[in-house]
Amino acid sequence: MSILIYAESAEGKFKKTAFELASYAKKIASETGTTVTAVTINVSDASALAAYGVDKALNVNIDKLKAFNAKAYADVIKQAAAKESSKFVLFSSNTDSLYIAPLVAVGLEAGYASNVVGLPQSIAPLQVRRHAFSNKAFTVTEITTDVKVLAIGKNSFGLVESASALTQEDFAPSLNDNDFTVKVESSEKVSGKVTIADAEIVVSGGRGLKGPENWGILEDLATALGAATACSKPVSDLGWRPHSEHVGQTGKPVASNLYIALGISGAIQHIAGINSSKVKVVINSDADAPFFKVADYGVVGDIFEIVPKLTEKIKAFKAQNS
């Protein structure tokens, strides 16, 4: 009856969300008097999970699963859940995990709650708090089925160390050709840059930067902070920045620790998309910009003067503190 987690990995190394998920699962396991089992795919050494409370890792070593395949991965997880008689199957909110979770839910006849914030408010009945209305509200949702699938919202539960004696087992689910009818032909990744999805800090620019030629000051600040770069919808629509940088209600969601908005006025749709960021800093020459109403820290002034100065201060700070 262990709590099952899908510990996502890339090239044999766990993603950070795997450790957050383990931390979350351990809390539920403690409350329900059970253990945590992780399903890992093509990870030869799962020992990194031991520090975060995982008691058992079921590793699936299948060549055909080296490329991502939602249906096959869902089938693997369903079979692992059945083997473990798990009542809880947990996912992170990474893109691939969110692709798989609904398939697993249907396969296990389990109710599914996504975008979960924090630990369950109650275990029996199972009630969780989740984001709704594009980050403008929360719902407390009860899952009424025996087996429950949860996708934990980005950055909504930290890392909790809990040393466990981890046993690693090979798991051989039965897969058939029908699982492999959707094939990855190729993939393109922007290498070297931290992605908006994984970034702890995001530096974002709006029309206040006046043109794509001025983006250097934003990129310098992002480099100094090790941050991902993003932009508002008008900037993306104008073609100043690639679509992949557009964050907001119809762009990418941002749930980083720190979000710095430069020259962005703060339209409702933009704020809705970035509202899950923990700390928001707004720098804008317009003291009346709506964004200041939701910011934690703000600087009113000329971004062309402020941003380069801030970059210098950050560099100095990093040099002192390294």
Binding site: T144, E188, D296
Partner: protein, 248 residues
């Protein structure tokens, strides 16, 4: 090719969000409702297939009579016919069950849904629909090309994109990028006139249970006022971010 486009009827992006009935229901009073933005990209792509390849486009919504205005808008944009499954959309699984029945009865080759709706942000209906119908599924689709029954799709992944091959019948979850924002179809006068005579069929729901229930809604705690820092004192900002917010 028979295409089914699933349409959610959601509050406009700028709507004020309030709850009623002891915070157990969304207060729809005075709220403008629209086609879910993620669904619009799929609908425009479906119309493209209609024009280029003679596909038929059916739009479907699971909802009450108030959703019909949204369905008529989809017809005005160019869909051929509409279906409304007459029941409140209680949860993602329940909606997926209703849609699965429509898919099974209609023999659709391609089902397009939006990756996530702006109201409940479940991001689960397309995947559940695929699971229930046995159709293959591509999530986060930002490009879709079809040749006979061969499909080449591109999906957005963390930090990039992935090109996928699949075969019809297929469910795809669309989002921004599936078509360019500037290419989104909007209803013109002719479309609006034609929409009035296009078929809008009302179906009764099939027996199904929701697997979750919304116990209550909550608004976020009111935010404390912003801490303004003078542009001449950026050291203070760095200090606050490090020592107070602890984010650097």
């Amino acid at each position: 090719m028979k295409i089914l486009v699933c349409i959610s009827h959601v509050p406009d992006t700028t709507a004020k969000i309030n709850f009623t009935n002891g915070d157990t229901e969304f207060d729809a009073n005075g709220v403008q409702f629209v086609i879910n933005p993620n669904d619009e990209f799929g609908l425009t792509r479906a119309i493209w297939f209609k024009e280029q390849a003679g596909a038929t486009v059916t739009v479907v919504n699971v909802g009450g009579p108030d959703a019909e205005a949204t369905l008529r808008k989809a017809l005005a944009i160019g869909a051929d016919e509409a279906i409304r499954v007459n029941t409140a959309p209680t949860d993602g699984f329940f909606v997926a069950k209703q849609l699965a029945e429509v898919v099974k009865n209609g023999g659709y080759d391609l089902v397009i849904a939006g990756k996530e709706s702006l109201d409940y942000n479940g991001a689960m209906v397309p995947g559940m629909l695929a699971g229930l119908t046995g159709y293959d599924f591509v999530n986060g689709c930002i490009k879709l090309d079809i040749n006979g029954s061969d499909v080449t799709a591109v999906r957005e992944i963390d930090g990039g994109k992935e090109t996928i091959s699949a075969k019809l019948p297929l469910v795809i979850a669309g989002q921004k990028g599936l078509v360019e924002e500037k290419d989104l179809r909007i209803p013109n006068m002719r479309g609006i006139m034609q929409a009035r005579t296009k078929a809008l069929t009302i179906l009764e729901p099939v027996a199904a249970s929701a697997t979750t229930k919304a116990v209550k809604f909550e608004k976020p705690a009111p935010k404390s006022a912003v801490k303004l820092i003078s542009p001449d004192n950026l050291d203070e900002l760095v200090n606050l971010l490090h020592n107070e917010a602890k984010v650097i």
